[in-house]
Symmetry: C2
Subunit: 379 residues, 2 copies
């Protein structure tokens, strides 16, 4: 291999590099499934790679509860933190930006630039807070459709997402079957169990009982941080696995015997408290309430109690991926979806990956996950 050949390979083996987000503004009134509406909306999004002339190489990535539009790359070369799926998206990577035009937008109701509870209501000039309409996963997808229309894309090559992103993915396949070529839903489920609703409601109560929440009516910079931190600490435990936490932290002590009562003593306490605080600096409490509620209400079971009625309209080919150590959205919930699709004669498949990272497994680089996504997209 000579130097010029080597140089030619660099982009293929490289990164998406420095990226910028864009804001898509729709001035049309947006109707929520609940009946509420807002006069306009913004979706903040990023794209990687190039839309081809036929406009048929677009892949939509759907982010999880606390993710956002920044799926890959960095905002400047000094930044060490990359987008949440950087290992998956880029030239030569499983979602190959030399082949695909990749789009990721912050969901409607989010707090990373898209319109949500912390946005200013143009009608009142004040934050929406609890005046923001009730939100569903269907609303998130309906807003993404406006963005896809705006980009001039008729049919998405694929829709891909994990967790809440997986729910949006399934919603796309069901609500817009003619606009989805294929879909990949990871660490997902057709609806929350009682246990998952219970965890979410406990997190919501932590926020709501923080005096700073003030009935949802708090100004910029004065959110109920203590309650939000507790909600995040608890949720974070559910994203990991017992085995994974034991391997990483065990009973390692930060302070052999904390001098003060209830100061950090174990490493795992230090880690979790940090996660709680860091979350408060980047996420909005009301948004957390709205998004968890949208997840709790999500239910693909039809009136007869099965998935068949809902999934019968699906035409795209689908891949469901469960993770053995995921106890928040356990493998069973993923299998249930693919079993319904197969029962209906749909082109669907399922993989269950043995990984120790719990629900967050889909956010961690693993060759077997890389190969699975790469292989399915190459079909």
């Amino acid at each position: 291999m000579n130097d010029s050949e080597q140089a030619a390979h660099i982009p293929l083996e490289g990164e998406v590099g420095v990226v910028e987000y864009q804001d898509f503004i729709s001035r049309e009134r947006f109707q929520f499934e609940s009946g509420g509406s807002i006069s306009e909306l913004c979706l903040r999004y990023e794209t990687y790679g190039h839309l081809n002339a036929a406009k048929d190489n677009a892949i939509l990535l759907c982010h999880a509860l606390t993710g956002n539009h920044h799926a890959a790359g960095v905002y400047n070369l000094n930044e060490r933190k990359q987008g949440w799926w950087n290992f998956m998206v880029g030239p030569g990577k499983p979602i190959d930006t030399t082949q695909y035009f990749v789009i990721c937008s912050n969901v409607l109701g989010g707090c990373s630039g898209s319109t949500g509870p912390e946005s200013i209501n143009p009608v009142t000039g004040k934050r929406y807070n609890l005046d923001f309409p009730k939100l569903t996963v269907g609303d998130m997808v309906n807003a993404q459709v406006l963005l896809i229309d705006h980009l001039g894309i008729d049919t998405l090559h694929s829709v891909i997402g994990g967790s809440m992103g997986g729910m949006q993915t399934l919603q796309w396949a069901i609500a817009y079957p003619e606009r989805v070529g294929s879909y990949i839903a990871l660490a997902c489920c057709a609806r929350h169990t009682a246990q998952t609703i219970a965890f979410n409601d406990t997190g919501r109560q932590a926020i709501i009982s923080d005096p700073e929440w003030n009935g949802g009516d708090y100004p910029d910079g004065q959110q109920p941080g203590d309650g939000l931190a507790v909600a995040r600490m608890m949720a974070h435990i559910t994203y990991l696995s017992d085995t994974g936490m034991e391997a990483k932290f065990g009973r390692k002590r930060r302070n052999a015997d904390a001098e003060e009562h209830f100061d950090v003593e174990f490493e795992v306490e230090s880690y979790l408290r940090y996660q709680g605080q860091a979350f408060v600096s980047r996420f909005d409490a009301n948004t957390y309430l709205y998004l968890t509620k949208a997840l709790d209400r999500f239910d693909l079971h039809g009136p007869n109690g099965t998935l068949d009625e809902t999934f019968k309209v699906v035409s795209a080919s689908g891949l469901m991926v469960g993770f053995t150590s995921d106890w928040l959205y356990p493998p069973q919930g993923n299998r249930e979806v693919v079993e319904a699709l197969l029962r209906l004669g749909k082109d669907a498949t399922y993989a269950e990956l043995a990984m120790d990272a719990g629900h967050d497994s889909f956010l961690l680089r693993a060759p077997k996950l890389d190969n699975l996504i790469r292989g399915f997209l190459a079909r």
Copy 2:
């Protein structure tokens, strides 16, 4: 069977009936394992059945984190709520009060009458709050020894407890081997995993970040109820199982579509919020901090990282009981204890019961649990 025979059976098939608690006061200074001390202590306790002349028929019951000394019976005949193990303790029941003299005391550090953080410090005339010394499971057992001495009992026929009560049970077998005839530890473990510490610390943070906590220095009747309720809601989820919750609540709705944002919508939310509120009315927040910390610090692994060094002194025969659906103290943690005992040549056995109620299985009546306890005590 004639009438008189039937009447003679009533006590055997009956209940312990109306009971009264007693307070044991020790005026000796009590030394904690941490080095701290208090000038006197009270243990509130109840007894059921009669101590025989040989004083060798006593069974000590050790309660769990939020339990207390009221293990059986009622305080008056109009009361519907019975002690926490009423189905297990009574005439003719597995722990048969016609045979055994059964004792149960609220732990040192507790808040049901025994000396703990909410008690008045006789030296200052004010609540101990965070002036209460650091607490361990060893301290709880050392205080129980004073009560057993006071009752004139040299050797306990058996020590029995689940969860935190199981830890006290193991501690008895290890610290006072000559005073324990047999022991039964249910839904127990030799130490907390990182995940369990993480849940406990999140609960503690919920309390500590409640402004009413006030650095631990709150007066009677003004405890940080919101934080304590959130801590309880979360902990309560860990006491149940996913399967059990799904069977009981599923996605049943209390309000089909809650009018107000974030009001109760699902049955499971209503249940958990009620559990949180009810807990605040009967438990003290600082006590919750102290007891969970004692549990997190409990570790029977010796300096060489195994249980062998700790368990080699045990002489009593032991039964460990794990529950398949217990994910807080999973079967593996119970098996680990009995494996160490068997490796050391001790008289120990293990049973793993398939029950759906999660960690709380030991608190629910089941014929197979009844038979197991009855059979082991009859050896």
